[in-house]
Symmetry: C2
């Protein structure tokens, strides 16, 4: 998909506009080399203005990437490709969940997710500073949690895992055991839809919108 | 699910009868402590004798766990809980794929998987040496690969990734980008169905078949 271009892409200056260690790991798995420049965008868009969590995440990802692009262009003249991403959890009632701020909020998030299916949306925005091409998309995965009792949720919250994760859980850690099944891209739940990213990049290379 | 018993379970002597670093990682994520004793079972059961890949994997997992149990019981008197596991890929035509032995076999496996959905089965067998309780199960996940051209497959085979993995790919590595979607447990594709394991252990503890 992208593997055959990985070497050529490494010659470009790729920048991941995210502090997430999961995103770093997933992109690294593809064989890409990149710098990390954490976006200073406030992530305070009005959720009510978006039709669903996917559109909200995509808009936030685009703001993150553009903020980093603006900053880097002021510092350096060589072209960059910036990768912005944002992940949200959409509860069955449509509530968009980001990172919980305390134990009580984490517990309430997990109580609303246990025993039912929810959606995880990751928005991705690619900003190419030469020509200012912006390509954004979102990916949705359906995740089903097994029924959990309050004791299980309390033991999980106690681990500290929920606090830097949208919806209050990380599928790649102990909460992986809570998930009875998923439908869609697993890496999207971890925070980066690697298949859709690779496909998008590969298409941009094939139609010569970008050169590897 | 199991998190609240993790501390108590750590007091038992758990043994993973598998050399797979992925299984070690997944079990470690649950907070469990365990030793690794690699099974010497030959993994040569006659596939034609099994109705599907899940039954074959479950039988192989049980042979692996029992072989380690027999060995450890001769060496030590204290009770163990042995965890055996085996993963196979079942191609759309029903062929059961294990690890490819060379580049040509890896390439052929990937050619038969690209653009279609296949099944990944992991069999798990838990052997409790006190009372000789054996509990075995299998889990199946459906995995859909995007269409891949021969260049992409060749680039992947060249990485050396396929050779210690059933079906010739590891979803947690660069091949993650080939997977457009999965349906079921992701960790099962990596080699260990963590949700079903946690649920099974939790049920055995709740009905007092085993004490944590």
């Amino acid at each position: 998909m992208l593997l055959q271009y990985a070497e050529a892409l490494c010659a470009r200056h790729l920048v991941l506009a995210s502090a997430s260690p999961r995103r770093r790991e997933i992109l690294g798995n593809l064989g890409l080399k990149f710098d990390v420049v954490v976006s200073r965008f406030d992530e305070d868009l009005d959720k009510a203005k978006f039709g669903n969590g996917g559109e909200y995440a995509m808009a936030t990802a685009q703001h993150k990437a553009l903020e980093v692009a603006d900053r880097l262009e002021q510092e350096e003249n060589s072209p960059f490709m910036i990768i912005g991403a944002d992940t949200v959890v959409e509860a069955p009632d449509g509530t968009i969940m980001e990172k919980p701020k305390d134990e009580a909020e984490a517990t309430n998030m997990l109580l609303s997710l246990q025993g039912v299916s929810h959606q995880v949306h990751t928005g991705v925005s690619l900003v190419f500073t030469d020509g200012r091409l912006v390509k954004s998309f979102s990916e949705t995965t359906h995740v089903t949690f097994a029924p959990l009792d309050t004791e299980e949720i309390a033991a999980y919250v106690k681990t500290g895992e929920p606090f830097d994760k949208a919806g209050g859980y990380g599928i790649q850690g102990p909460a992986g055991a809570f998930v009875s099944s998923i439908s869609g891209c697993y890496f999207n739940v971890m925070g980066f839809p690697i298949h859709k990213f690779a496909k998008t990049m590969s298409d941009l290379i094939k139609d010569e919108t970008i050169k590897p």
